[in-house]
């Protein structure tokens, strides 16, 4: 049991170490990867995911607004729905929802495709060609997540606020202009950036976890399935832990 844990820890640390080395090769232009793959991975992590991110964020905005309105209506303060939705989306839900969707969508698909490559000995074939699988597979995925997550997060923020506005305007007769004025009055750039920074961290978490479980998977069909499940579960757990750490840090720093 303890030996198992020890081995796992070593294997994670080894993976992280190799990834850092690969990144230093990437930034000095020595990493080996194919531009075509980078583009494909980039498409998967950004443009191809916008639809689902929008849909979920819109619904989250709607839900937040309805739940908030139950309380706020009693005080005749429905206009504060705008504050609630705006703050919640920017600081928390934008980044969290984006990351959880991406962990289940693109992260899972990365884990499965890398695990399949491992099972087919494709990764061994890379190694015998002298190409580091980390350079070739992990770095492009991590980079495209680091770039795409903040964008998706911004999209999610905006669509979520829109969702809140739809509720405010349609159910409580707040004028759209008044709603957005109220939102802008309450939220500021700090809230926005906190969400954005978080999304970058979450992007790193999701991509590393997907690649790690993919590369370390067993060479069986079951191994591929397990890699996918583990990647999603671990991503989500780590996202929430990381978010909690951010919550503590921001409250200690008073931002």
């Amino acid at each position: 049991m303890f030996r198992n844990l020890y081995n796992k820890t070593i294997s994670v640390l080894e993976f992280l170490g190799l990834t850092i080395l690969s990144f230093s090769r990437f930034f000095t232009g020595k990493a080996r990867y194919r531009k075509k793959d980078l583009l494909l991975v980039f498409y998967e992590s950004g443009p191809a995911s916008i639809g689902i991110v929008c849909l979920i964020s819109l619904l989250v905005g709607l839900i937040l607004a309805y739940i908030g309105s139950i309380q706020l209506e009693q005080f005749g303060a429905v206009i504060y729905i705008a504050d609630l939705v705006g703050l919640a989306m920017l600081r928390e839900m934008g980044a969290i929802m984006t990351s959880i969707i991406m962990a289940g969508r693109t992260g899972a698909s990365f884990a499965a495709s890398i695990a399949t490559m491992e099972a087919n000995e494709e990764i061994d074939a890379l190694k015998t060609t002298g190409i580091s699988p980390i350079d070739f597979l992990v770095v492009p995925r991590v980079i495209s997540f680091i770039i795409c997550f903040p964008f998706l997060c911004i999209v999610s923020d905006l669509v979520g606020i829109l969702g809140g506005a739809i509720v405010g305007v349609s159910s409580f007769e707040i004028s759209p202009i008044r709603y957005f004025e109220q939102t802008i009055l309450r939220v500021d750039l700090t809230d926005f950036f906190i969400g954005l920074v978080k999304s970058i961290f979450f992007g790193i978490i999701v991509s590393l976890s997907a690649c790690y479980f993919g590369i370390k998977s067993k060479r069986t069909a079951e191994g591929v399935g397990n890699a996918t499940t583990s990647s999603v579960v671990v991503s989500i757990v780590l996202i929430i832990i990381c978010d909690a750490i951010f919550a503590v840090l921001t409250s200690v720093l008073g931002i």
């Binding site: 000995e121 494709e122 061994d124 074939a125 002298g130 190409i131």
Partner: protein, 248 residues
């Protein structure tokens, strides 16, 4: 006598705690077509993984031109391994790339040829294994035997000094299989490529093998070393039985 190319000393191979083979000691000479024989599951592919730097020996050493493979630092090891071409038992083609891209990748990485030249070389390597016209196919669009041959073309891309082939003719029809033997002999004779080949095809073993080793699954160690013809005459009983299809 030729120079020793690979020297295996007291090699013991394990998966976790499971012993696969122990105390393997034998040289592979430059210019050999070296056959690794043994029953299914005895550890031939595992031996190959140890020779091409994919798996660390549990104990013992693998010397490549007098350098101990696993005592070198990573960069040096990569430099040595670049002289090797490896084709895997499963083909192991990169499924997201066409056959031509599969063959081209190492050329793009390690040579300064232009795009057109690389494309020409890739085409030529594919034609060597009878895959002309399939350059732009993806691995899932071709048959098992074709995958295997494409894997061999990929292994030959950089004109390696040592070529490792894991059951290259398994799953090939007799004619393709004979063509493959011819190709191996040609590479060996004309370009001096050392070939380490795992195969069960007796005809092929006797036709192309200049030297060989027999791994035994029961005793978990090697049971014979020498040219296949020698082993057929003077090898121990197990080896002779293997070489006569069990009819002894």
């Amino acid at each position: 006598m030729n120079r020793v190319c690979l020297n295996i000393e007291n090699l013991t191979m394990k998966y976790e705690d499971k012993l696969i083979q122990e105390n393997l000691t034998f040289p592979i000479y430059e210019g050999d077509i070296f056959v690794v024989m043994g029953g299914s599951g005895c550890g031939k592919s595992t031996l190959l993984r140890h020779l091409v730097g994919l798996k660390r020996p549990s104990s013992g050493k693998v010397f490549i031109y007098n350098e101990s493979l696993w005592d070198l630092d990573e960069d040096k090891r990569q430099d040595i391994l670049r002289e090797f071409g490896v084709s895997f038992q499963s083909g192991a083609l990169w499924t997201s790339m066409t056959l031509k891209e599969n063959v081209s990748l190492s050329l793009e990485e390690y040579t300064n040829y232009s795009k057109n030249e690389i494309s020409e070389i890739a085409k030529q390597k594919l034609s060597l294994v009878g895959l002309s016209g399939f350059e732009d196919y993806y691995p899932f669009e071709i048959s098992g035997g074709m995958k295997k041959r494409a894997g061999i073309a990929r292994a030959m891309a950089l004109d390696p000094k040592v070529l490792f082939l894991d059951e290259p003719s398994a799953g090939l029809d007799p004619i393709s299989s004979k063509n493959l033997d011819d190709l191996i002999i040609k590479l060996n004779k004309e370009e001096g490529v050392t070939v380490v080949i795992i195969t069960h095809e007796l005809d092929s073993i006797f036709r192309i093998g200049t030297n060989s080793v027999f791994l035994d699954a029961e005793t978990k160690t090697m049971q014979g070393y020498g040219s296949p013809k020698e082993l057929l005459e003077n090898g121990c009983e197990k080896v002779r039985r293997f070489l006569q299809r069990g009819e002894l």
